[in-house]
Every structure is written in C-alpha cells, then in structure tokens.
C-alpha cells in the first residue's frame, strides 16, 4: 500500500506544481519541434503532432482527470453515505424500497446512461462529474447500509439510545464517525472507477473538451499518432495506468484492512 500511495502522491504533487515551472505551457505550439522525440532540448518528453510539450500536456491532463475524479467521487460519497445511512438506520420497508432502487440501478448500462446525459445536456466539465458521481454511488450505499445495520446493534449505540439521545444525535455523533474507515476505503476505490469513466468519455470525444485536456483525450490523440510517434500514446497512457493501478491497490488494501 505504501508504494502505491507514494506514487499517487508524487503524481498529484507533480500535476499541481510542476506545469508552471516548465518552459512551455500545455497549449503553446513550438514550431521548431513538431512531433519531437523525448529528450529534445526544452521538451524532456518530446512533443505531440502539433508541437505541444508532452510533459506539460500530460501533467495538465492528469490535473483535470484527478480534479474531475475527486469531485465526482465526493458527489458519489455524499449520495451513497446519505442513502445507505438512511436505509440502514430506518430498516424495514423503507430499507427494502431504497435497496430495491439500488438493485434496479445496478442493472442499468451505466456508461450508456452517462453518455446519454452528456449528449443531452452538452459536454460541460461540471456535468461530467455530476453525471459520473450520480451513477457511481451504488456500491457506497450498499456498504454503508450494511455497516450502519451492524453498528445499530452495538452496545454503545444501544446505550446512547437508552440514555435518551435522539436519532439525529445518534447518527451524527455515534454512527457517522464509525463509518469513516469503510467510507474512505470505498471512496479510494470509487476514484479509479471515476477516472476510468471520465477518460473513457474523453477518449470518445464525449467528456472534457478542448482547450481543456485530460488523460483520456491525450491517449486518444496518442492512439491516432502512434504509427509516427509512439511516445505520444505511451506517456499519457502510462501516467493514466499508474494513477489507476496505485489507486486500486491502495483502495483494496484499505478495504481489506477494514473488512478484517
């Protein structure tokens, strides 16, 4: 878990702080270095088909990808925790009805629904993360519900109830803090899902739009150019894979720790 978190931290820090330090911005064209290979002076990782610095583009792309992912994962966290906590706490018919909704939504072709949303309401970045967040909360809701149902039976909750604490206070002061561990683990596992969806959409031209860029767009551009300049595919692709793999490994380790 440690190496995964270190790699992740390095990527986040680089995406945040390195682009302003580079000689070329992500959208500036260097007419003297079009489709340059890595290690050309001024362009440590080379340039793309129209002479834009690939290091700057990859880092800015990673920044957009991570920002969308973080925002969408928080939307998913908010909906999932709320939904799961209410269902788990109320139990009975309310629980059954709410979980039926989750089951029904699980059966939907997610990506198609998100694409439908993108098509219908324009391809704004705000909508990208709202749309993704709105479909990625289901697992969170299930996990939180199960956890709340378990916590509800614990002596300290029964004691609080016996001491006359109202439901709002019990949920707020006793249940939610104990949910934090599980919620963080699944939040970490939601982020790669969201990164995947965002890059998938951007790859198809349905997500983030130019002049903004994201790793999905860069992979698409690289795939179109790979016969001439394979590094334009391999660098952003590698960065995307590094983000996804380190998030998945960190999330799984954390989940296993809380499940045990």
């Amino acid at each position: 878990m440690k190496p995964a978190l270190l790699i992740l931290a390095a990527i986040v820090l680089a995406a945040l702080f390195v682009p302003p330090l580079l000689p070329w911005s992500h959208d500036a064209i260097d007419w003297d270095a079009i489709r340059a290979a890595p290690l050309v002076p001024g362009h440590p990782l080379g340039t793309d088909g129209v002479g834009r610095d690939l290091l700057a583009r990859s880092l800015v792309g990673a920044r957009v990808t991570l920002a969308v992912a973080a925002a969408a994962a928080l939307v998913a966290l908010a909906i999932g925790v709320l939904w799961g906590a209410v269902a788990g706490w109320c139990g009975g018919r309310i629980d059954e009805a709410m979980m039926r909704v989750v089951d029904a939504l699980y059966a939907l072709p997610f990506m198609f629904v998100v694409i439908l949303l993108m098509v219908l309401f324009g391809r704004s970045i705000l909508l990208v993360f709202l749309g993704i967040g709105a479909v990625e909360w289901l697992t969170m809701a299930r996990v939180v519900r199960a956890e709340v149902m378990r916590l509800k039976q614990r002596p300290f909750v029964l004691a609080a109830e016996a001491a006359g604490a109202g439901p709002a206070r019990i949920v707020g002061a006793h249940i939610l803090p104990n949910l934090a561990g599980v919620a963080i683990a699944y939040l970490l596992l939601t982020v790669p899902q969201v990164v995947m969806v965002e890059s998938f959409l951007s790859f198809l031209g349905l997500g983030v739009q130019e002049p903004l860029t994201s790793l999905g767009i860069l992979v698409k551009e690289g795939a179109d150019e790979m016969d001439l300049a394979p590094h334009t595919l391999l660098l952003p692709g590698g960065l995307l894979v590094a983000i996804l793999v380190s998030l998945t490994i960190a999330g799984e380790r954390l989940r296993d720790r809380f499940a045990a």
């Binding site: 029904a104 198609f112 219908l120 309401f121 995947m196 790859f203 999905g216 595919l233 793999v245 998945t248």
Partner: protein
C-alpha cells in the same frame, strides 16, 4: 428455479420500463434538436419536419407511439445515417458487437478461472501473489489504453496481426480486439475465483474429502470449484454490461462496424432515435444477461432456488 425467475422478472420489467421512460423524457428536455444546423431552417420546413417525425404531438402520445413501435422492434429512423432506420443499424452492428463480447467472455472465463485455480492451489506462494497482482493490474488497465498498445506492438512493430478493421470477421482481425476486451474481465474473474476457492477450501465437506484421501487436484476440481464459481456467476451480469460498454471503445479503437461505433457517432451527432434505441436495447440485453446469470447461479447453488 421458477419462483426465482418470476421474482427477477418482477423487478426486471419495471426497470426496463423506467429506463425507456427516463431516456425518452431526457431526450425531450434536452436543449438542441436533431434539425439544428449551421443555418436555422425556415419555420414552415421546421413544422413539416416536426410533423413528419411526430414531434408535434403531446408528450404522452409520443411516448405511447414510441412504446408501440418498440414492441414491434421498430426503433425509428436514424437522423444521422439518413438512409437507414435504427433497426437496420442494429441488425448490421449488433451481431458484430455480440460476437466480440461473446468471444471475449469465453476468453476471460478460461483465463480467469484457470488463473484463480492455479493461485488457490498454492495459497500464499509466489505464484499466488504474482497472479493476483497481475489480476489487479488487469482490472485497473482501461481497454482504450491496452487496445492501442496491443496494436502498436503486434500490429505495427511486429506486424503479426491486422491493425484494424473487421475483415468480414476472419479470425486474425478478431484476435487483438477480443484480447483487449477480455483482459479486464479476466482479471476480475481470476480474483473472484481465487476468493471463492479460498472460502470453499475452508469448508467441512472439503476436509472430509481430503480425509478420505482424495488427491488435491480432485478435491479442488471436483468439490471446491463448483461452490467457488457462485460469486463468478453472480458477476456475469455486470461482466456482460462491462463487455457491451467496452465494445463501444474497442470498436472505435479498431474501426469495427459494430453497434457501439454507431452509438458513439449517434451520440456525437445528437441522433436521438439511434442513442435512445441503443440504450434501450442494451438495457434489455443486460436485464436478459442478469436473468441468465441468475439461472446459472441457481444451478450452482441449490439453496438459491427457493
């Protein structure tokens, strides 16, 4: 078995209806229309177009007509591919997408279950850990990255396989798309099989099978595998959904004339009937796959038949 099926159908049909209604309503409230071009059309032409496509009727009547046509397998005209109906495009593209998906599912099952078996037979050893790490890597690798990289290596650099195109479905053209589509699913199946086997191997009937002196291989294959495949079976529904979704991007990467590519073109061009038709069709297919997965589930674990 029958009650289980009926119960599932009971939730599946409202789900399907909700998808159709929701996507229909979303289409209606969306800004922009299929006839918005560079130049605005004159009002008379607009009215004529609206009448020709029934867009001037009240909403519930439009929805009723839409449902009635769907029931007859008619998804309406495609607005972008003007010479085709959506049904034509589906008839042309769906077999390709389903072929891809089915082959990828078979490959993923073979790879995933065997990797899970090998890993579970040597728990805690290097092989186990290496295989499970590989499985995690595979699930985290998006097919739109592995696809182009496979093309780069086996198509462009080594020249062993065709780079893109359907080639009338001859096998060499299918190899790379099917592999790229199957890998993430194979990773997930390997993990589920490994976890299922670990649970199954801890059960009493396994201990007695071992105590009777059965060979480890026989215990693993004959007694542990069947219950261990229950989680794999319940993953088949989501796997089918994942493969249909993955096919969209794989068809784009490899320039295959499947339904996914029409869908992306439709989405980029606001082809309402096409997008709506594909979403409805895929929702129906996924509901169907979930039913099949439930049947397999019930066959593997008799307690679920209830």
């Amino acid at each position: 078995m029958i009650p289980l099926l009926l119960r599932r159908l009971f939730t599946a049909i409202p789900t399907l209806f909700a998808v159709i209604l929701l996507s229909f309503l979303l289409m209606k409230v969306a800004p922009g229309g299929p006839f918005d071009g560079e130049r605005p059309l004159d009002p008379a032409t607009q009215a004529a177009l609206a009448r020709a496509y029934g867009l001037d009727l009240p909403l519930h009547e439009q929805f009723g007509r839409y449902l009635a046509r769907l029931a007859q397998g008619d998804f309406g005209p495609s607005l972008v591919y003007r010479d085709f109906t959506v049904t034509d495009l589906v008839a042309q593209g769906l077999p390709i997408s389903l072929t891809l998906g089915a082959l990828a599912l078979i490959l993923a099952l073979i790879l995933g279950v065997s990797a899970g078996l090998v890993a579970a037979s040597r728990p805690g050893r290097t092989v186990d850990e290496a295989l499970m790490l590989a499985a995690t890597l595979l699930t985290a690798l998006p097919s739109f990255v592995t696809g182009p990289i496979l093309v780069l290596v086996f198509g462009l650099a080594l020249g062993w396989l065709p780079v893109s195109g359907w080639g009338d479905g001859d096998p060499p053209h299918l190899v790379l798309p099917v592999i790229a589509l199957a890998l993430p699913v194979a990773g997930a199946i390997a993990k589920l099989t490994r976890a299922g086997l670990a649970t199954a191997l801890g059960q009493d009937h396994i201990r007695s099978a071992r105590a009777r002196g059965l060979s480890p291989t026989r215990v693993l294959l004959r007694h542990a595998l069947r219950p261990a495949l229950v989680p794999v079976a319940s993953y088949l529904g989501p796997a089918a959904a994942g493969l249909l979704t993955g096919a969209v991007v794989i068809e784009t990467v490899f320039a295959l004339p499947g339904l996914g590519r029409y869908f992306v073109q439709g989405a980029l061009n606001r082809d309402y009937p096409l997008v709506l038709g594909v979403v409805t069709l895929y929702a129906g297919l996924i509901v169907l796959f979930n039913l099949v997965a439930d049947l397999i589930y019930g066959w593997l674990d008799p307690r679920m038949r209830g």
